[in-house]
């Protein structure tokens, strides 16, 4: 097995708030090899964005980060800001949920693409222009030459996300982080954007992290999935293994809550009752205990560690993992 491109070691992020310290990311370990896709799944507020921002070193100023983020042999947490700036946009790229986060509304699409390219690669203006046109064509934008002169507001949401992806890909990154890249988009456009990301990833042998709240989005597209809850990774496994047998009750509940096409109309959905705990008031026991239908008294007393049982690469944090018989003979 090759050495991982990215290793997140014991990363924690704390944010000061008027209500006290908020632990947004609670000691997370993850790793990712070149050319592979990691899906990070969890509901709103569970810390997905803060974790990706910790990797990118783009945390809010007041945030306190501990742990190590090893990327391509260097610890990003200890890297000087000048080196970081050069790394971001070149080796380390990001696509946000709202493409307008990364697009500048007052600059044309051409200017934005060419600026990024020229900042990181040694190309003159005509070469940068040529590359911009190629990139727009690669992400499926019709008439790319005309698009260069347009402003972001003249494009649809799907187009804008394609342009943001073109900019992210412009300098051949080694790692692309896509933070809910399709949550704001329609299903048909969502499928197109996910296809586009997968295609470009294969072509460039790039590593990719897809962040989403929908297990359906990562099912056919990630090699490995990490499920997050209340700042922690609560289950992590190769995608096939995870969907075959979910150990952590939260993962199972998240999957069950998705409306399925096969289900007859008016069938009540197995919703997860309640809400995640207040992140400024961490619980003593398992964070999922107040919502978990399997919770026992031990779950309220101590936190389960993330560990594996029979399969070394299938990790879960639960005292009473779900035992699904189905041929595994649990």
């Amino acid at each position: 097995m090759s050495a991982p491109l990215l290793t997140i070691e014991d990363v924690a992020v704390e944010l000061p708030t008027p209500r006290g310290n908020l632990r947004a990311v609670d000691h997370v370990d993850l790793s990712l090899e070149a050319g592979r896709t990691l899906g990070i799944v969890g509901e709103s507020g569970c810390g997905k964005t803060m974790l990706s921002r910790a990797v990118l070193q783009l945390l809010p100023k007041k945030a306190k980060l501990t742990g190590r983020v090893m990327f391509d042999g260097q610890d990003l947490v200890r890297l000087p800001s000048e080196s970081l700036r050069r790394l971001r946009g070149r080796d380390l790229a990001v696509v946000f949920q709202d493409p307008m986060t990364s697009l500048n509304p007052v600059l044309t699409i051409g200017t934005q693409l060419m600026e990024t390219i020229q900042e990181h690669l040694e190309l003159d203006a005509p070469a940068a222009r040529k590359r911009s046109i190629e990139l727009l064509a690669a992400v499926g934008i019709p008439a790319p030459e005309q698009r260069l002169a347009q402003y972001p507001h003249q494009c649809s949401g799907g187009m804008r996300q394609r342009i943001a992806i073109a900019i992210a890909l412009s300098c051949e990154p080694k790692l692309l982080i896509a933070d809910e890249p399709t949550t704001a988009l329609d299903v048909t456009i969502q499928a197109q954007i996910l296809d586009l990301l997968a295609r470009e990833q294969r072509r460039r042998h790039m590593a990719m992290i897809i962040i989403t709240h929908d297990l359906g989005v990562v099912a056919g597209r990630a090699d490995e999935v990490a499920v997050m809850y209340a700042g922690r990774v609560v289950e992590r496994a190769p995608t096939q293994a995870l969907f075959k047998r979910m150990h952590m009750p939260y993962s199972e509940a998240l999957l069950a809550a998705i409306p399925k096409l096969e289900t007859a109309p008016h069938t009540p959905l197995p919703a997860i009752s309640g809400r995640p705990p207040d992140p400024t008031r961490p619980l003593k026991g398992c964070s999922f205990a107040p919502r978990c239908r399997y919770a026992a008294s031990r779950c309220h007393e101590a936190k389960p560690d993330l560990k594996s049982a029979e399969m070394p690469d299938h990790l879960y944090a639960c005292f009473y993992p779900i035992q699904m018989a189905e041929g595994i003979g649990a």
Binding site: T188, A191, D195, A219, P259, P268, I272
Partner: protein, 323 residues
């Protein structure tokens, strides 16, 4: 007119509705001749991509946007011909729930006042009666009235804000609610809670719903029948189970394929959905879907396909249907 609904006399009957917006010297053809009917007690799902005219149709039904032509019959009366006091009275019976729950609540007003507002507008003068109604609907949506009435919207999550919006829409005891993408802005886990809540409220208060969304699986979960819309026109309408099992319109088929399936063994179909919808300022001639349709031919650009029955209760507007 074509009878799309049902055996029973429909509560809502939309007949050849046309809604346009002026944009400079151009015209946005947002809804171009839509007819549909919703029976009392029924949920009609309305799906389609962003910009296809779903919200415009919903707002035109409620007369929040006036139609250019066509009729909206509610309980036999034509809302498009109503004005002033008559329309205001009618509006008590029809309500709207929006997509963005947080943005649709006034950030400076307390929850109690927000939920009571429709009562004040409707002229309910008795404060005790208003309070009683507000408490009743807040409890119905699963909130503790005493804990929430004094608080401000920003103190609540997206899912809780949507509960508050639903409570507000119920406070006048309406018969009909247009739910405009009520769960699109919510997480998977909260989405299921709100969908279940809508179903409960429907049963408890005997509501009739027009349920708008762009996610077919979400729509199927709550709808008796589903209407599929594309660029201002209906493509297909039929009973939910039947439409999902046997889509007749190529666009319905494409929408079904685009849904992400939470199963790693189901490989996502590559680029089923080529292209994006054309501009509603200059919609294509003939069938509006023809620029993205794998079956399009000469006839599709020359002739507008009319909705016709292709199975019991299932209608499709296509020259070359899938079934």
């Amino acid at each position: 007119m074509m009878q799309l609904a049902a055996r029973v006399e429909p509560l809502l009957n939309v007949d050849n509705l046309v809604v346009e917006y002026g944009l400079g010297n151009k015209t946005v053809h947002a809804v171009s001749g839509v007819s549909l009917a919703v029976a009392r007690g029924e949920t009609l799902g309305l799906v389609g991509e962003s910009g296809c005219g779903k919200s415009t149709l919903g707002r035109a039904v409620l007369q929040l946007r006036r139609a250019k032509s066509g009729r909206v019959l509610f309980d036999g009366e034509d809302l498009t011909a109503m004005e002033g006091e008559a329309l205001r009275k009618m509006r008590r019976r029809v309500q709207l729930i929006f997509q963005d729950p947080i943005a649709s609540l006034n950030p400076r007003r307390r929850i109690g006042d927000i939920v009571a507002e429709p009562l004040i507008i409707a002229g309910v003068k008795d404060a005790a009666e208003r309070k009683r109604r507000v408490h009743e609907v807040l409890s119905a949506v699963g909130l503790d009235p005493d804990l929430v009435v004094g608080r401000l919207p920003h103190e609540f999550s997206g899912g809780q804000c949507q509960r508050i919006c639903i409570a507000r829409s119920l406070v006048l005891s309406p018969e009909f609610i247009v739910c405009d993408e009520p769960v699109s802005a919510l997480d998977v886990s909260i989405r299921a809670q709100i969908l279940n809540l809508l179903e409960e409220m429907k049963a408890r208060f005997g509501l009739t719903l027009l349920f708008i969304a762009h996610d077919l699986a979400v729509v199927k979960a709550v709808s008796d029948r589903v209407a599929v819309m594309y660029l201002g026109r209906l493509c297909e309408v039929g009973p939910s189970e039947q439409l999902f099992a046997n889509p007749a319109h190529p666009y319905t088929g494409l929408l079904l394929q685009a849904i992400p399936v939470p199963d790693p063994d189901v490989r996502p179909a590559e680029s089923v959905a080529a292209g994006e919808p054309p501009s509603p300022i200059a919609p294509p001639s003939g069938c509006r879907f023809r620029t993205r349709c794998p079956r399009a031919d000469q006839r599709c650009s020359a002739e507008i396909p009319e909705l016709r029955e292709i199975g019991p209760g299932q209608f499709a507007a296509c020259h070359h249907p899938l079934t």
